[in-house]
Amino acid sequence: MWSNRGYPRSGGITLLNLAVLALEDGTVFEGQSFGAPVERAGEVVFNTAITGYQEVFTDPSYSGQIVVLTYPQIGNYGASEADNESAHPYIEGLVVREFSPLSSNWRADQTAREFLTASGTPVVTGIDTRALVRHLRSRGVMRGVLSGAGGDPKALVEKARKIPSMAGLDLATRVSTKERYEWDTPVVACSPSQHVGKVPEAKHHVVAYDFGMKRNILRRLAQVGCRLTVVPAGTSADDVLALQPNGVFLSNGPGDPEPLLDGPAAQVKKLIGRVPIFGICLGHQILGLASGGKTYKLKFGHRGANHPVLNSVTGRVEITSHNHGFAVDPGSLNLNEIEVTHMNLNDDTLEGFRHRNNPVFCVQYHPEAAPGPHDSHYLFDDFVKLMDGYKK
């Protein structure tokens, strides 16, 4: 815990190499390099959650993105294997105001810096992240290059302009598992004082499409008594049905949903009505496409852990965890067939819907949290109930 005090210092100030973040519009931020001394490119997005940086790093939905964390003190509690949302960080790069060299938490098994450096992720610290966020908020998210090894800002801007735009990009297929696998690990308590509850005997077999799945979704599903088979994004409807699932789950994932229209969305369309389906995030967007709707890109997306979502069925507001740059246009849905169930109170975007006649429901946000509030855990129970009802 006390290690890592040995950075070179001058005038009492830690000296690190120059790191540069260059945006496609020519804006350049210079700071200090704190992670891997490499250069990476991606869409620059911001997340406003105060806690949960490790979950953000390892959420595959951030693939292709350089993440700006608005909270200025990052790395304080280190990193622990238990908090990983996938096998390794997926973010292309990290932008923070101040990165802690020390980790202070009994759960940590390494410092956050070690964690990122091991995966070759560049980190720039010391830049005015608030100014950057205000820039992204008013101009919209944009492409950028983060160099943890310095470099000519002009050249980096040019590079940023050459990377493919997020719109139209199928990243889900790229990050999806190559092999089918089983999952049965439920939620593990993070403290002797946390009561996660008893896991009921597994009574439902759920086939989960991995478009960039967060582990906590699997843990949550296992927690409510699901036996899981995780399948690659390209799995056909027939192959899924051949596994005789009680339900199908569609995961979160990175990139633009629209390129998935002819692939996964077409397969999902075939599954609608034949098996209960639950979708989260990209899974929700795929269900939107499969139900005849359209998706669009948000100006700067929703990324954070404090979004109010109104559940129009219960009339209650849930504080929810978000990570999405695209959304389903509610105007594009056939409301005779589809019922809007969740709306975002901040900007009136669609956050969830269900089919009136088929066992299908989905939410745009992250009920599995990690990071974020647990207000929406009930959706996993709802999925079980849906499968219970369908089974009978």
Partner: protein, 1083 residues
Amino acid sequence: MPRRNDLKRILIVGSGPIIIGQACEFDYSGAQACKALKADGYEVILINSNPATIMTDPNLADRTYVEPLSVEYAEEVIRRERPDALLSTVGGQTGLNLSVALAEAGVLDKYGVELIGAKLEAIKKAEDRLLFKDAMHKIGLDLTQSQLVNSIEKGLEFAEKIGYPVILRPSFTMGGSGGGIAYNREELVEILESGIDLSPVHEVLIEESVLGWKEFELEVMRDLADNAIIVCSIENFDPMGVHTGDSITVAPAQTLTDREYQMMRDGALACLREIGVDTGGSNVQFAINPQNGRMVVVEMNPRVSRSSALASKATGFPIAKIAAKLAVGYRLDEIKNDITRKTPACFEPTIDYVVAKIPRWQFEKFPGAAPVLGTQMKSVGEVMAIGRTFKQALGKGMRSLETGKSDGAVKYSEDLIEARLITPNPDRLGYIRYAFERGYSEEQVHALTSVDPWFLRQVREVVDEEQAVGETSMENTSKDVLRQYKRDGLSDNVLAKAWNVSPLTVRERRKELGVTAVFNRVDTCAAEFESFTPYLYSSYESECEAAPSKRKKVMILGSGPNRIGQGIEFDYCCCHASYALQEYDIESIMVNCNPETVSTDYDTSDRLYFEPLTLEEVLNIVDTEKPDGVIVQFGGQTPLTLALPLKAAGVPIIGTDPENIDLAEDRKRFGKLLDDLQIPSPENGTATSPELACEVARKIGYPVLVRPSYVLGGRAMVIAYDEDTVRRYMQEAVHFSQDRPVLIDRFLEDATEVDVDALADMSGEVLIAGIMEHIEEAGVHSGDSSCVLPATSLSAETLATIRSYTERLARALNVIGLMNVQYAVKDGKVYVLEVNPRASRTAPYVSKATGVPLPKLAVGAMLGKKLSEMTDARGELKVPQYFVKSPVFPFNKFPGVDPSLGPEMRSTGEVMGVGENFGEAFAKAQLSAGSPLPDKGRLFLSVNDRDKPGAVALAKKFAELGFELAATRGTAEAIRGAGLTVKTVFKVNEGRPNAVDLLKAGSLSLVVYTGTTGAHAFADEKAIRRNAVTYRIPCITTMSGARAAVEAIASRRRDPIRVWSLQEIHGTPSRTSGVKAKESATR
């Protein structure tokens, strides 16, 4: 669920006087609640005994009762006003307790008043230890393990089960005596044995120790539809063992993983639901074992609190305002977020900065009290600082305290390091820094303090930087490094000291290099949405969001952290200054760093800068805003200290010229002015050495009053009866210099002291606002003395002299705005003691008593308006009834401290009593101040020889009222000589049973004990006064106070329970702000 239309009239209960643990944060929350409900069309009735608050301003409620917060008076208010509901949750513990008492006494049922905010059952569940324990177990939340035991065996058994150390608390012992911490079997047996013996029920609570655990707090809100949110998380720098109010706290929590934080969030929400807080805000405190993450609930408060005020200021989310709206039926998602305007209040604020709160203590005012922190709160105020990083926030916080510690003015001793780190104390942070300077490692400091390693690393890095600064020169420090220093919170003063240049030189250098402060917004959302509210803090980031307007604007410098002598009264003045500016269509800009206050509500001024009140930070704001004027006369000493340097820097100060404010403090120049005006003052002189001081004192004649220049609240002021005292004072007690000499005045014994507040404008017109007669004789600090408006015993001639002197002084000093003069009247002669050409502590009290907001007129005068344009009143404001202001003391928090009154101010707050006669007003004031006078029983008298004749007359009056009399030998003889029956009682050193024994036995109901004021108090006096405090027996230490008490008791016997609202007293239409208040014709 929209607003409830079945409710029309709502009673709000305030929190009463400022005391330690319950300060002006409840003025902030109460004022917010009043405003919110009134804006929503409800008729608001308010009861609060504290006249210094903004919430008791007549325009904040429809009916404002400055009356005692007791069941009988509150019932009378309810009987007259017939409210439909009572909002119980915005008046602190006092408000909550009174609400419960009213409910339990059947008053609410009798008048059909509904309790809103928190229901009786919920309050009880949260407050009752056992009910709370059951409730928490029901929802699976851990508490510290504890058990009541009545034998050593059972104690040992339980301790073995939970492990050492354990905390022991004997049941029902006074002040927790007999308790302690046992680290092993032997200590347990020892403490348990004595504890079982000391406890009247022979029971001791054995509790698992959580000392050194990490401490957290969550601010929670819930609406009637069961929507619940966390507004803010707070982590304490000081681990468990120090009261949260005495801890340095940080928002948001820094060292919790998301999983732990969400577990805590789940726990807090479950707690709120189980306790049954239907609507409003609560806080839930947790402790976490840093070794294994075990989490326990420490406590929850089913109401808004000190930390909710902090959380509101830290996030920009107004908890009390929203709580009030939820209480009348609104849902969170029906309320808009004021700051973003577009998004709803149903969300969880997220922040992109770090907030640090640091308490301010004043142990130096209470000699005899050990400066040690524990589970009882001792701090009198606090500051909050916002920085982009923790380091920056901490640096700003330390200089906001105005203790001089941040500039290295304090001397530390290497020998004390370990002791100061192990035992929490007011300067632990200073000692942590010092330990790092002396080469201690983080591991060592952690082992001694249990402060989280993350915090220690931050502190150490700043210390490293500060040490490194001096290794190079200013010229050789690069722009990047300089910028990093500023980003890490190093002040220009610290840099200047290290570089051996002046702070202004550093400032110039910074500007040259382009290292200048910018301002960021507090926006509830980490910049995700646009912010419409200019709530700003400084940083050294790249982009300034201040966006100053082109309007005509005036900046008000606030009063910083509350401290004794400079408290809420000055905040009242600053807020009114702001309101007045807005009414004159001038943009108001507030600068302050006290999170408890109304002035730091983003709603109060057009623009709010939450910044330390230092020259550096104020000049940064001036650079950005370029105000047309800066007001320094409302914030007490804090802005006055800055007045001359600001003026020198070319900042336009409006109102009385700082040179003249300074003149009034400069003994020599001021003495000459008095001579020129032929106004008498007590003989006086100045001294810059012990020898000189003794010489001056000898020349003047004893007793003399000795004090340093430039102090507020009588800091370090003594009355010396002999040369020894003067010499000792000069040698030990005080710092002085050529430009700040010690002042020595002849002390006028037995004089009546008078306080005058007055207003003056540029044309030289003067309006006397109030002539307040003190009830205690001169020699008791004016802030510690009760006083009455109008004066009751001064002759017409004396009053005329006072008016004339006041007018002449105001004109001579070219006062523009407020002025306060203190006089002593002795044998018909009027002496000027002190002139302060600025707002005084009494300004709010006088405003309430006269119905005229003085600061408002003062601001008008500063803007060039004539008093006669603004008010119809001429000469002197009328006072339509009797108004008594009484001080409230914190002696019960400082066991062992002699509670006698003297020239050093020690009261933390004040109350006001209103009556048709002096006795009635005084009786109410005493009741409100927490020292209610008895109606009957036995009076104990012990007076010095000088007071014996007076004591006889006094005894006679008490006897007439049916009191039994008891007195010490000398006093008893005098009384008996007048034919009265009196029991003779031993002094403490004369034998037993003595006065203290009687006091403890409960056979005395009132004590009048006059010692030799200011001289060495005898052990006997101290014992009596101390025990009177402990056993809550009113103890009067002056004859004039005793005479007032007789009148008060007579009134209680004679007058019915009656109350008046300020609106009816002053005939103010309730919905106007009333600069031109109609003056009542009565009286």
